[in-house]
Protein backbone atom coordinates (compact mmCIF):
# COMPACT_ATOMS: atom_id res chain seq x y z
CA UNK A 1 0.00 0.00 0.00
CA UNK A 2 1.04 3.54 -0.62
CA UNK A 3 2.80 5.47 2.11
CA UNK A 4 0.96 8.26 3.93
CA UNK A 5 3.10 10.86 2.15
CA UNK A 6 2.10 9.45 -1.21
CA UNK A 7 -1.52 9.37 -0.20
CA UNK A 8 -1.42 12.98 0.83
CA UNK A 9 0.37 13.94 -2.40
CA UNK A 10 -1.94 12.07 -4.73
CA UNK A 11 -5.22 13.11 -3.15
CA UNK A 12 -8.42 12.02 -4.83
CA UNK A 13 -9.08 15.56 -6.00
CA UNK A 14 -5.66 15.76 -7.67
CA UNK A 15 -6.07 12.40 -9.39
CA UNK A 16 -9.50 13.49 -10.56
CA UNK A 17 -8.34 16.81 -11.99
CA UNK A 18 -5.42 15.03 -13.67
CA UNK A 19 -7.72 12.57 -15.35
CA UNK A 20 -10.49 15.03 -16.17
CA UNK A 21 -8.90 18.46 -16.29
CA UNK A 22 -11.39 21.34 -16.13
CA UNK A 23 -11.23 24.26 -18.57
CA UNK A 24 -8.86 22.19 -20.68
CA UNK A 25 -9.35 23.95 -23.98
CA UNK A 26 -8.12 26.66 -26.28
CA UNK A 27 -9.69 30.09 -25.99
CA UNK A 28 -9.73 31.77 -29.41
CA UNK A 29 -10.82 35.12 -28.02
CA UNK A 30 -8.44 35.23 -25.07
CA UNK A 31 -6.97 38.60 -24.13
CA UNK A 32 -3.72 37.04 -22.99
CA UNK A 33 -2.01 33.81 -23.97
CA UNK A 34 1.15 32.69 -22.27
CA UNK A 35 3.24 29.52 -22.26
CA UNK A 36 4.74 27.98 -19.17
CA UNK A 37 7.55 25.45 -19.36
CA UNK A 38 9.47 23.38 -16.86
CA UNK A 39 12.66 22.45 -18.70
CA UNK A 40 13.67 19.90 -16.09
CA UNK A 41 10.76 17.55 -16.62
CA UNK A 42 9.22 18.93 -19.79
CA UNK A 43 5.88 20.07 -18.31
CA UNK A 44 4.50 22.47 -20.88
CA UNK A 45 1.24 24.43 -20.73
CA UNK A 46 -0.44 27.33 -22.44
CA UNK A 47 -2.65 29.51 -20.27
CA UNK A 48 -5.48 31.50 -21.84
CA UNK A 49 -6.87 34.47 -19.95
CA UNK A 50 -9.84 36.74 -20.56
CA UNK A 51 -10.28 39.82 -18.41
CA UNK A 52 -13.28 41.93 -17.64
CA UNK A 53 -11.69 45.12 -16.39
CA UNK A 54 -9.82 44.06 -13.28
CA UNK A 55 -11.66 40.77 -12.94
CA UNK A 56 -10.74 37.39 -14.39
CA UNK A 57 -13.59 36.60 -16.76
CA UNK A 58 -12.32 33.24 -17.96
CA UNK A 59 -9.24 31.02 -17.75
CA UNK A 60 -8.42 27.89 -19.69
CA UNK A 61 -5.31 25.88 -20.43
CA UNK A 62 -3.80 23.29 -22.72
CA UNK A 63 -0.68 21.22 -22.63
CA UNK A 64 0.91 18.20 -21.04
CA UNK A 65 2.80 17.31 -17.94
CA UNK A 66 2.77 15.32 -14.74
CA UNK A 67 -0.33 14.79 -12.58
CA UNK A 68 0.68 17.48 -10.11
CA UNK A 69 1.22 20.17 -12.71
CA UNK A 70 -1.91 19.31 -14.66
CA UNK A 71 -4.17 19.07 -11.62
CA UNK A 72 -2.75 22.32 -10.31
CA UNK A 73 -3.54 24.12 -13.58
CA UNK A 74 -7.02 22.62 -13.58
CA UNK A 75 -7.85 23.49 -9.97
CA UNK A 76 -6.39 26.94 -10.46
CA UNK A 77 -8.63 27.52 -13.47
CA UNK A 78 -11.68 26.76 -11.34
CA UNK A 79 -10.76 28.98 -8.38
CA UNK A 80 -9.57 32.19 -10.04
CA UNK A 81 -12.58 32.83 -12.25
CA UNK A 82 -14.46 35.94 -11.08
CA UNK A 83 -11.61 37.04 -8.81
CA UNK A 84 -9.84 40.37 -9.08
CA UNK A 85 -6.21 40.55 -10.13
CA UNK A 86 -5.26 41.46 -6.59
CA UNK A 87 -7.16 38.50 -5.21
CA UNK A 88 -5.45 36.12 -7.65
CA UNK A 89 -2.04 37.37 -6.55
CA UNK A 90 -3.00 36.79 -2.91
CA UNK A 91 -4.22 33.29 -3.70
CA UNK A 92 -0.96 32.48 -5.45
CA UNK A 93 1.04 33.71 -2.47
CA UNK A 94 -0.96 31.50 -0.15
CA UNK A 95 -0.75 28.57 -2.51
CA UNK A 96 3.00 29.05 -2.78
CA UNK A 97 3.37 29.14 1.00
CA UNK A 98 1.30 25.99 1.20
CA UNK A 99 3.33 23.93 -1.28
CA UNK A 100 6.67 25.15 0.05
CA UNK A 101 5.69 24.34 3.62
CA UNK A 102 5.64 27.98 4.75
CA UNK A 103 1.93 27.79 5.46
CA UNK A 104 1.82 29.30 8.94
CA UNK A 105 -1.63 28.32 9.99
CA UNK A 106 -2.76 31.92 9.90
CA UNK A 107 -4.65 31.09 6.77
CA UNK A 108 -7.32 28.50 7.29
CA UNK A 109 -7.61 25.56 4.97
CA UNK A 110 -11.18 26.66 4.49
CA UNK A 111 -10.01 29.85 2.85
CA UNK A 112 -7.78 27.87 0.54
CA UNK A 113 -10.67 25.65 -0.46
CA UNK A 114 -9.71 23.11 -3.09
CA UNK A 115 -6.18 24.45 -3.16
CA UNK A 116 -5.62 22.79 0.21
CA UNK A 117 -5.39 19.49 -1.65
CA UNK A 118 -1.86 20.50 -2.63
CA UNK A 119 -0.59 20.66 0.96
CA UNK A 120 1.11 17.27 0.49
CA UNK A 121 3.44 18.76 -2.12
CA UNK A 122 5.46 20.39 0.65
CA UNK A 123 6.80 16.95 1.59
CA UNK A 124 8.18 16.63 -1.96
CA UNK A 125 10.48 19.60 -2.63
CA UNK A 126 11.24 18.29 -6.13
CA UNK A 127 7.58 18.70 -7.05
CA UNK A 128 7.04 22.30 -5.94
CA UNK A 129 7.85 23.53 -9.42
CA UNK A 130 5.26 21.20 -10.90
CA UNK A 131 2.58 22.53 -8.58
CA UNK A 132 3.40 26.16 -9.18
CA UNK A 133 4.07 26.18 -12.94
CA UNK A 134 0.51 27.10 -13.97
CA UNK A 135 0.34 29.77 -11.28
CA UNK A 136 3.60 31.38 -12.36
CA UNK A 137 2.30 31.36 -15.91
CA UNK A 138 -1.02 32.91 -14.93
CA UNK A 139 0.76 35.63 -13.02
CA UNK A 140 2.89 36.29 -16.11
CA UNK A 141 -0.28 36.59 -18.19
CA UNK A 142 -1.82 38.99 -15.67
CA UNK A 143 1.36 41.08 -15.91
CA UNK A 144 0.93 40.97 -19.69
CA UNK A 145 4.26 39.26 -20.22
CA UNK A 146 4.91 37.68 -23.59
CA UNK A 147 7.94 35.45 -23.21
CA UNK A 148 7.52 31.85 -22.04
CA UNK A 149 7.58 31.48 -18.26
CA UNK A 150 10.05 28.86 -17.08
CA UNK A 151 10.54 27.45 -13.63
CA UNK A 152 14.33 27.26 -13.89
Amino acid sequence: MATDELRSLYQEIILDHNKNPRNFRQMPDADYVLEGYNPLCGDHYTIYLKMNGDVVADVSFEGAGCAISKASASVMSTVVKGKTKQHVHELFDRFHDLVTGKHTGNVSFEELGKLAAFAGVSEFPARVKCASLAWHTLRGALEQRKETVTTE
Binding site: A2, T3, L15, G42, H44, A64, G65, A67, K70, A126
Partner: protein, 419 residues
Protein backbone atom coordinates in the same frame (compact mmCIF):
# COMPACT_ATOMS: atom_id res chain seq x y z
CA UNK B 1 28.92 -37.25 -26.96
CA UNK B 2 29.79 -37.63 -23.32
CA UNK B 3 33.20 -36.14 -23.95
CA UNK B 4 31.78 -33.12 -25.72
CA UNK B 5 29.35 -32.53 -22.92
CA UNK B 6 32.12 -32.68 -20.38
CA UNK B 7 34.15 -30.16 -22.30
CA UNK B 8 31.16 -27.89 -22.62
CA UNK B 9 30.52 -28.01 -18.89
CA UNK B 10 34.13 -27.26 -18.22
CA UNK B 11 34.04 -24.25 -20.51
CA UNK B 12 31.03 -22.74 -18.79
CA UNK B 13 32.26 -19.49 -17.31
CA UNK B 14 32.20 -19.07 -13.58
CA UNK B 15 29.03 -17.46 -12.28
CA UNK B 16 29.28 -13.80 -11.37
CA UNK B 17 29.25 -13.35 -7.59
CA UNK B 18 26.99 -10.34 -7.19
CA UNK B 19 26.87 -10.58 -3.39
CA UNK B 20 30.61 -10.27 -3.19
CA UNK B 21 30.47 -7.25 -5.50
CA UNK B 22 27.69 -5.62 -3.49
CA UNK B 23 29.67 -5.89 -0.29
CA UNK B 24 32.32 -3.64 -1.87
CA UNK B 25 29.84 -0.75 -2.25
CA UNK B 26 29.08 0.79 1.17
CA UNK B 27 26.26 3.04 -0.06
CA UNK B 28 24.15 0.01 -0.94
CA UNK B 29 23.77 -0.59 2.80
CA UNK B 30 22.60 2.95 3.46
CA UNK B 31 18.84 3.14 3.92
CA UNK B 32 16.97 5.85 2.02
CA UNK B 33 13.56 6.95 3.22
CA UNK B 34 13.72 4.11 5.69
CA UNK B 35 13.97 1.57 2.89
CA UNK B 36 16.79 -0.41 1.42
CA UNK B 37 18.26 1.55 -1.46
CA UNK B 38 17.49 0.12 -4.88
CA UNK B 39 19.82 2.10 -7.08
CA UNK B 40 18.75 1.95 -10.71
CA UNK B 41 20.22 5.22 -11.94
CA UNK B 42 23.61 3.95 -12.99
CA UNK B 43 23.55 5.62 -16.39
CA UNK B 44 23.48 8.96 -14.57
CA UNK B 45 26.30 8.00 -12.25
CA UNK B 46 27.48 4.80 -10.59
CA UNK B 47 28.19 4.14 -6.92
CA UNK B 48 31.77 3.79 -5.73
CA UNK B 49 33.53 0.75 -4.32
CA UNK B 50 35.52 0.91 -1.08
CA UNK B 51 38.87 0.96 -2.89
CA UNK B 52 37.95 4.18 -4.68
CA UNK B 53 36.74 5.88 -1.51
CA UNK B 54 39.87 4.72 0.29
CA UNK B 55 42.11 6.04 -2.47
CA UNK B 56 40.52 9.48 -2.20
CA UNK B 57 40.96 9.54 1.54
CA UNK B 58 44.51 8.25 1.39
CA UNK B 59 45.45 10.88 -1.16
CA UNK B 60 44.38 13.76 1.02
CA UNK B 61 45.69 12.22 4.22
CA UNK B 62 49.05 10.99 2.97
CA UNK B 63 49.85 12.00 -0.59
CA UNK B 64 48.54 15.48 -1.39
CA UNK B 65 50.87 17.70 -3.43
CA UNK B 66 50.85 19.40 -6.80
CA UNK B 67 52.24 17.35 -9.65
CA UNK B 68 54.75 17.82 -12.47
CA UNK B 69 56.43 20.70 -10.70
CA UNK B 70 57.91 19.96 -7.31
CA UNK B 71 61.16 18.22 -6.55
CA UNK B 72 60.01 17.31 -3.07
CA UNK B 73 58.99 13.84 -2.00
CA UNK B 74 55.21 14.28 -1.98
CA UNK B 75 55.12 16.01 -5.35
CA UNK B 76 57.10 13.20 -6.90
CA UNK B 77 54.86 10.62 -5.29
CA UNK B 78 51.63 12.33 -6.40
CA UNK B 79 53.02 12.69 -9.91
CA UNK B 80 53.89 8.99 -10.00
CA UNK B 81 50.43 7.98 -8.83
CA UNK B 82 48.70 10.27 -11.28
CA UNK B 83 50.79 9.04 -14.19
CA UNK B 84 50.27 5.46 -13.06
CA UNK B 85 46.56 6.00 -13.61
CA UNK B 86 47.26 7.13 -17.14
CA UNK B 87 49.13 3.88 -17.74
CA UNK B 88 46.35 1.81 -16.11
CA UNK B 89 43.83 3.41 -18.42
CA UNK B 90 46.02 2.86 -21.44
CA UNK B 91 46.06 -0.82 -20.62
CA UNK B 92 42.34 -0.91 -19.79
CA UNK B 93 41.33 0.46 -23.20
CA UNK B 94 44.06 -1.23 -25.18
CA UNK B 95 45.78 1.95 -26.34
CA UNK B 96 49.31 1.60 -27.68
CA UNK B 97 50.82 4.60 -25.93
CA UNK B 98 50.04 6.35 -22.63
CA UNK B 99 50.48 9.70 -24.38
CA UNK B 100 47.23 8.94 -26.18
CA UNK B 101 45.39 9.18 -22.86
CA UNK B 102 44.39 12.81 -22.17
CA UNK B 103 42.79 13.61 -18.83
CA UNK B 104 39.67 15.75 -19.03
CA UNK B 105 36.76 16.52 -16.70
CA UNK B 106 34.57 13.93 -18.33
CA UNK B 107 32.91 12.93 -21.58
CA UNK B 108 31.47 16.39 -22.11
CA UNK B 109 34.88 18.01 -21.95
CA UNK B 110 36.39 15.25 -24.10
CA UNK B 111 33.96 16.04 -26.90
CA UNK B 112 34.36 19.78 -26.46
CA UNK B 113 38.13 19.38 -26.62
CA UNK B 114 37.91 17.59 -29.97
CA UNK B 115 35.45 20.18 -31.29
CA UNK B 116 37.59 23.10 -30.14
CA UNK B 117 40.93 21.77 -31.40
CA UNK B 118 40.56 19.13 -34.10
CA UNK B 119 37.28 20.70 -35.17
CA UNK B 120 38.52 24.27 -35.38
CA UNK B 121 41.61 23.11 -37.29
CA UNK B 122 39.84 20.86 -39.79
CA UNK B 123 36.22 21.92 -40.25
CA UNK B 124 35.69 24.86 -42.60
CA UNK B 125 32.79 26.76 -44.13
CA UNK B 126 30.69 24.44 -46.25
CA UNK B 127 32.01 21.29 -44.54
CA UNK B 128 29.82 18.82 -42.68
CA UNK B 129 29.91 17.15 -39.27
CA UNK B 130 27.87 13.97 -38.98
CA UNK B 131 26.19 12.79 -35.76
CA UNK B 132 23.29 10.40 -35.12
CA UNK B 133 19.71 10.78 -33.92
CA UNK B 134 20.46 9.07 -30.61
CA UNK B 135 23.12 11.39 -29.22
CA UNK B 136 23.30 12.86 -25.75
CA UNK B 137 23.15 16.68 -25.74
CA UNK B 138 26.88 16.68 -25.04
CA UNK B 139 27.49 15.07 -28.43
CA UNK B 140 25.16 17.48 -30.22
CA UNK B 141 25.69 20.96 -28.82
CA UNK B 142 29.50 21.19 -29.16
CA UNK B 143 29.13 20.30 -32.86
CA UNK B 144 26.30 22.76 -33.33
CA UNK B 145 28.49 25.45 -31.79
CA UNK B 146 31.41 24.51 -34.00
CA UNK B 147 29.28 24.46 -37.15
CA UNK B 148 27.82 27.83 -36.23
CA UNK B 149 31.28 29.32 -35.68
CA UNK B 150 32.84 28.11 -38.92
CA UNK B 151 29.78 27.98 -41.17
CA UNK B 152 29.65 24.20 -41.45
CA UNK B 153 26.56 21.98 -41.52
CA UNK B 154 25.44 19.45 -38.93
CA UNK B 155 24.04 16.25 -40.45
CA UNK B 156 22.11 13.61 -38.52
CA UNK B 157 22.01 9.89 -39.30
CA UNK B 158 18.54 8.50 -38.53
CA UNK B 159 17.40 5.62 -36.31
CA UNK B 160 14.48 3.21 -36.69
CA UNK B 161 11.50 2.68 -34.38
CA UNK B 162 13.46 0.18 -32.31
CA UNK B 163 16.10 2.82 -31.68
CA UNK B 164 18.68 1.20 -33.93
CA UNK B 165 21.06 3.21 -36.06
CA UNK B 166 20.42 2.95 -39.80
CA UNK B 167 23.97 2.27 -40.85
CA UNK B 168 23.17 2.37 -44.58
CA UNK B 169 21.65 5.82 -44.21
CA UNK B 170 24.66 6.91 -42.22
CA UNK B 171 26.89 5.59 -44.95
CA UNK B 172 24.93 7.56 -47.56
CA UNK B 173 25.44 10.75 -45.59
CA UNK B 174 29.23 10.42 -45.72
CA UNK B 175 30.78 12.47 -48.49
CA UNK B 176 33.82 14.54 -49.38
CA UNK B 177 32.54 17.43 -47.24
CA UNK B 178 32.20 15.26 -44.11
CA UNK B 179 35.08 16.14 -41.79
CA UNK B 180 34.07 14.10 -38.75
CA UNK B 181 31.64 11.51 -37.46
CA UNK B 182 30.68 11.88 -33.77
CA UNK B 183 28.68 8.94 -32.48
CA UNK B 184 27.75 7.31 -29.21
CA UNK B 185 28.79 3.72 -28.58
CA UNK B 186 25.78 3.05 -26.34
CA UNK B 187 22.71 5.32 -26.14
CA UNK B 188 21.99 6.59 -22.63
CA UNK B 189 18.28 7.10 -23.38
CA UNK B 190 17.56 3.88 -25.30
CA UNK B 191 20.32 1.46 -24.35
CA UNK B 192 21.10 0.73 -28.00
CA UNK B 193 24.60 -0.64 -28.61
CA UNK B 194 25.85 0.62 -31.96
CA UNK B 195 27.91 -1.70 -34.19
CA UNK B 196 30.91 0.51 -33.55
CA UNK B 197 33.54 -1.45 -35.41
CA UNK B 198 31.45 -1.60 -38.60
CA UNK B 199 30.45 2.05 -38.40
CA UNK B 200 34.06 3.12 -37.92
CA UNK B 201 35.13 0.99 -40.91
CA UNK B 202 32.39 2.57 -43.05
CA UNK B 203 33.46 6.07 -42.02
CA UNK B 204 37.14 5.33 -42.59
CA UNK B 205 36.44 3.97 -46.05
CA UNK B 206 35.02 7.41 -46.80
CA UNK B 207 38.10 9.01 -45.25
CA UNK B 208 36.18 10.34 -42.24
CA UNK B 209 37.66 10.23 -38.72
CA UNK B 210 35.42 9.10 -35.86
CA UNK B 211 35.01 10.38 -32.30
CA UNK B 212 33.18 7.90 -30.10
CA UNK B 213 31.17 8.90 -27.01
CA UNK B 214 31.95 5.90 -24.83
CA UNK B 215 30.29 7.17 -21.62
CA UNK B 216 27.67 4.40 -21.50
CA UNK B 217 29.67 1.66 -23.17
CA UNK B 218 32.74 1.44 -21.01
CA UNK B 219 30.93 0.35 -17.81
CA UNK B 220 29.36 -2.59 -19.65
CA UNK B 221 31.93 -4.02 -22.03
CA UNK B 222 35.65 -4.25 -22.51
CA UNK B 223 36.83 -1.62 -24.94
CA UNK B 224 39.84 -2.03 -27.18
CA UNK B 225 40.47 1.22 -29.01
CA UNK B 226 42.95 -0.36 -31.39
CA UNK B 227 40.55 -3.11 -32.35
CA UNK B 228 37.77 -0.55 -32.85
CA UNK B 229 40.24 1.64 -34.75
CA UNK B 230 38.41 4.75 -33.48
CA UNK B 231 40.24 8.05 -33.81
CA UNK B 232 38.93 9.42 -30.53
CA UNK B 233 37.16 7.70 -27.64
CA UNK B 234 35.95 9.58 -24.59
CA UNK B 235 34.40 8.54 -21.27
CA UNK B 236 33.73 9.65 -17.68
CA UNK B 237 35.16 8.09 -14.55
CA UNK B 238 31.96 8.61 -12.55
CA UNK B 239 29.95 6.33 -14.81
CA UNK B 240 32.46 3.51 -14.33
CA UNK B 241 32.57 3.37 -10.53
CA UNK B 242 35.21 6.10 -10.20
CA UNK B 243 34.95 9.62 -8.78
CA UNK B 244 33.32 12.61 -10.49
CA UNK B 245 35.29 15.37 -12.15
CA UNK B 246 37.67 13.26 -14.19
CA UNK B 247 37.50 11.42 -17.47
CA UNK B 248 39.55 10.52 -20.49
CA UNK B 249 39.89 11.50 -24.09
CA UNK B 250 41.77 8.87 -26.02
CA UNK B 251 43.12 10.05 -29.37
CA UNK B 252 45.43 8.50 -31.93
CA UNK B 253 48.99 9.73 -31.50
CA UNK B 254 49.37 11.41 -34.88
CA UNK B 255 46.02 13.17 -34.60
CA UNK B 256 46.79 14.49 -31.12
CA UNK B 257 50.23 15.63 -32.23
CA UNK B 258 48.77 17.58 -35.13
CA UNK B 259 46.05 19.25 -33.07
CA UNK B 260 46.41 22.75 -31.62
CA UNK B 261 46.24 23.03 -27.82
CA UNK B 262 42.94 23.33 -25.97
CA UNK B 263 43.32 25.77 -23.09
CA UNK B 264 46.41 27.86 -22.36
CA UNK B 265 48.17 27.95 -19.02
CA UNK B 266 50.62 26.12 -16.82
CA UNK B 267 51.71 22.55 -17.55
CA UNK B 268 50.79 22.80 -21.24
CA UNK B 269 53.91 24.79 -22.10
CA UNK B 270 57.61 24.12 -22.49
CA UNK B 271 58.70 27.73 -22.35
CA UNK B 272 57.00 31.08 -22.30
CA UNK B 273 58.26 34.54 -23.28
CA UNK B 274 56.15 37.56 -24.08
CA UNK B 275 57.09 37.04 -27.72
CA UNK B 276 55.73 33.51 -27.84
CA UNK B 277 55.27 30.15 -26.25
CA UNK B 278 56.48 26.67 -27.04
CA UNK B 279 53.78 24.19 -26.23
CA UNK B 280 54.40 21.03 -24.30
CA UNK B 281 54.19 17.56 -25.86
CA UNK B 282 51.06 15.46 -25.78
CA UNK B 283 49.20 14.66 -23.62
CA UNK B 284 50.25 17.68 -21.48
CA UNK B 285 49.59 20.06 -24.35
CA UNK B 286 45.89 19.45 -23.63
CA UNK B 287 46.12 19.53 -19.85
CA UNK B 288 46.53 23.16 -18.83
CA UNK B 289 46.57 24.02 -15.15
CA UNK B 290 46.59 21.89 -12.02
CA UNK B 291 44.52 18.86 -12.89
CA UNK B 292 42.07 16.92 -10.74
CA UNK B 293 44.84 14.96 -9.06
CA UNK B 294 42.86 13.33 -6.26
CA UNK B 295 40.07 12.06 -8.46
CA UNK B 296 42.56 11.03 -11.12
CA UNK B 297 44.39 8.82 -8.67
CA UNK B 298 41.14 7.38 -7.32
CA UNK B 299 40.03 6.79 -10.91
CA UNK B 300 43.08 4.54 -11.14
CA UNK B 301 41.71 2.55 -8.21
CA UNK B 302 38.39 2.17 -10.05
CA UNK B 303 40.09 0.95 -13.20
CA UNK B 304 42.15 -1.49 -11.14
CA UNK B 305 38.94 -2.74 -9.52
CA UNK B 306 37.23 -3.17 -12.89
CA UNK B 307 40.30 -4.89 -14.32
CA UNK B 308 40.15 -7.45 -11.52
CA UNK B 309 36.64 -8.60 -12.48
CA UNK B 310 35.78 -11.57 -14.63
CA UNK B 311 34.29 -9.68 -17.57
CA UNK B 312 32.93 -12.71 -19.32
CA UNK B 313 30.90 -13.63 -16.24
CA UNK B 314 29.94 -9.99 -15.63
CA UNK B 315 28.75 -9.55 -19.18
CA UNK B 316 26.56 -12.64 -19.05
CA UNK B 317 25.19 -11.52 -15.70
CA UNK B 318 24.37 -7.96 -16.81
CA UNK B 319 22.83 -9.16 -20.03
CA UNK B 320 20.65 -11.65 -18.17
CA UNK B 321 19.56 -8.99 -15.71
CA UNK B 322 18.54 -6.55 -18.43
CA UNK B 323 16.64 -9.29 -20.21
CA UNK B 324 14.87 -10.26 -16.99
CA UNK B 325 13.95 -6.65 -16.25
CA UNK B 326 12.69 -6.15 -19.79
CA UNK B 327 10.45 -9.22 -19.60
CA UNK B 328 9.06 -8.31 -16.19
CA UNK B 329 8.39 -4.65 -16.96
CA UNK B 330 6.89 -5.49 -20.35
CA UNK B 331 4.30 -7.67 -18.61
CA UNK B 332 2.82 -4.68 -16.80
CA UNK B 333 -0.35 -3.50 -18.45
CA UNK B 334 -0.03 -0.23 -20.34
CA UNK B 335 3.78 -0.13 -20.31
CA UNK B 336 5.64 0.62 -23.51
CA UNK B 337 9.36 0.11 -23.69
CA UNK B 338 11.25 2.84 -25.55
CA UNK B 339 14.33 1.38 -27.18
CA UNK B 340 13.94 -2.20 -28.31
CA UNK B 341 17.16 -2.65 -30.24
CA UNK B 342 18.50 -6.16 -30.63
CA UNK B 343 21.76 -5.14 -29.02
CA UNK B 344 21.27 -3.29 -25.77
CA UNK B 345 23.24 -2.56 -22.62
CA UNK B 346 22.32 -1.37 -19.17
CA UNK B 347 19.26 0.75 -19.93
CA UNK B 348 15.53 0.08 -19.69
CA UNK B 349 13.50 3.13 -20.74
CA UNK B 350 9.72 3.02 -20.68
CA UNK B 351 6.47 4.96 -20.48
CA UNK B 352 3.22 3.98 -18.80
CA UNK B 353 -0.12 4.85 -20.31
CA UNK B 354 -1.92 7.64 -18.47
CA UNK B 355 0.85 8.28 -15.95
CA UNK B 356 3.57 10.84 -16.43
CA UNK B 357 7.14 9.59 -15.79
CA UNK B 358 7.64 12.28 -13.17
CA UNK B 359 4.83 10.88 -11.03
CA UNK B 360 6.24 7.39 -11.41
CA UNK B 361 9.63 8.67 -10.27
CA UNK B 362 8.16 10.19 -7.12
CA UNK B 363 6.28 7.04 -6.21
CA UNK B 364 9.31 4.80 -6.80
CA UNK B 365 11.43 7.16 -4.73
CA UNK B 366 9.12 6.64 -1.76
CA UNK B 367 10.04 2.96 -1.96
CA UNK B 368 13.75 3.73 -1.98
CA UNK B 369 14.01 3.05 -5.70
CA UNK B 370 16.16 5.53 -7.59
CA UNK B 371 15.41 5.86 -11.29
CA UNK B 372 15.75 8.77 -13.65
CA UNK B 373 12.71 10.38 -15.19
CA UNK B 374 12.83 13.01 -17.88
CA UNK B 375 14.42 13.47 -21.27
CA UNK B 376 17.84 12.13 -20.22
CA UNK B 377 19.67 14.98 -21.96
CA UNK B 378 18.48 13.52 -25.24
CA UNK B 379 15.52 15.69 -26.25
CA UNK B 380 15.82 14.79 -29.95
CA UNK B 381 15.40 11.12 -28.99
CA UNK B 382 12.21 11.97 -27.09
CA UNK B 383 10.96 13.95 -30.09
CA UNK B 384 11.75 11.00 -32.36
CA UNK B 385 9.49 8.80 -30.26
CA UNK B 386 6.85 11.50 -29.74
CA UNK B 387 7.07 11.50 -25.94
CA UNK B 388 8.10 14.22 -23.48
CA UNK B 389 9.99 11.92 -21.16
CA UNK B 390 10.58 8.35 -20.05
CA UNK B 391 11.26 6.47 -16.87
CA UNK B 392 14.73 5.02 -17.10
CA UNK B 393 15.99 2.15 -14.99
CA UNK B 394 19.69 1.69 -15.64
CA UNK B 395 21.72 -1.15 -14.27
CA UNK B 396 25.19 -1.60 -12.86
CA UNK B 397 27.26 -4.56 -11.82
CA UNK B 398 25.74 -4.70 -8.32
CA UNK B 399 22.07 -4.84 -9.31
CA UNK B 400 20.02 -7.97 -8.73
CA UNK B 401 16.83 -9.70 -9.83
CA UNK B 402 15.35 -8.93 -6.39
CA UNK B 403 15.82 -5.25 -7.16
CA UNK B 404 14.06 -5.70 -10.48
CA UNK B 405 11.22 -7.40 -8.60
CA UNK B 406 11.05 -4.43 -6.22
CA UNK B 407 10.82 -2.11 -9.22
CA UNK B 408 8.00 -4.13 -10.74
CA UNK B 409 6.13 -4.24 -7.45
CA UNK B 410 6.33 -0.47 -7.10
CA UNK B 411 5.19 0.00 -10.68
CA UNK B 412 2.12 -2.02 -9.76
CA UNK B 413 1.61 0.43 -6.91
CA UNK B 414 1.75 3.28 -9.40
CA UNK B 415 -1.04 1.61 -11.32
CA UNK B 416 -3.01 1.19 -8.11
CA UNK B 417 -2.77 4.90 -7.30
CA UNK B 418 -3.56 6.03 -10.83
CA UNK B 419 -5.92 3.18 -11.74
Amino acid sequence: MAVTAAIETKQLPKAFDVDAVRSEFPILETPVRGKRLVYLDNAATTQKPRVVIAALRRYYEEENANIHRGVHYLSERATDLYEKTREQIRRFIGAGDAREVVFVRGTTEGINLVAATFGRANVRAGDEVLITAMEHHSNIVPWQMLCEQVGAKLKVAPINDAGELLVDELSNLLNAKTKLLAITHVSNALGTVNPMKDVIAVAHSAGVPVVVDGAQAIPHQRIDVRELDCDFYTFSSHKMYGPTGIGVLYGKLDLLNAMPPYQGGGDMIKSVTFEGTIFNDIPYKFEAGTPNIADGIAFGAAVEYLSSLDWQALSIYEHGLLQYATERVKEIDGVRIIGTAREKAGVLSFVMEGVHPHDIGTILDQEGIAVRTGHHCAQPVMQRFGIPATVRASFGLYNTREEVDALVKSLQKVKEIFN
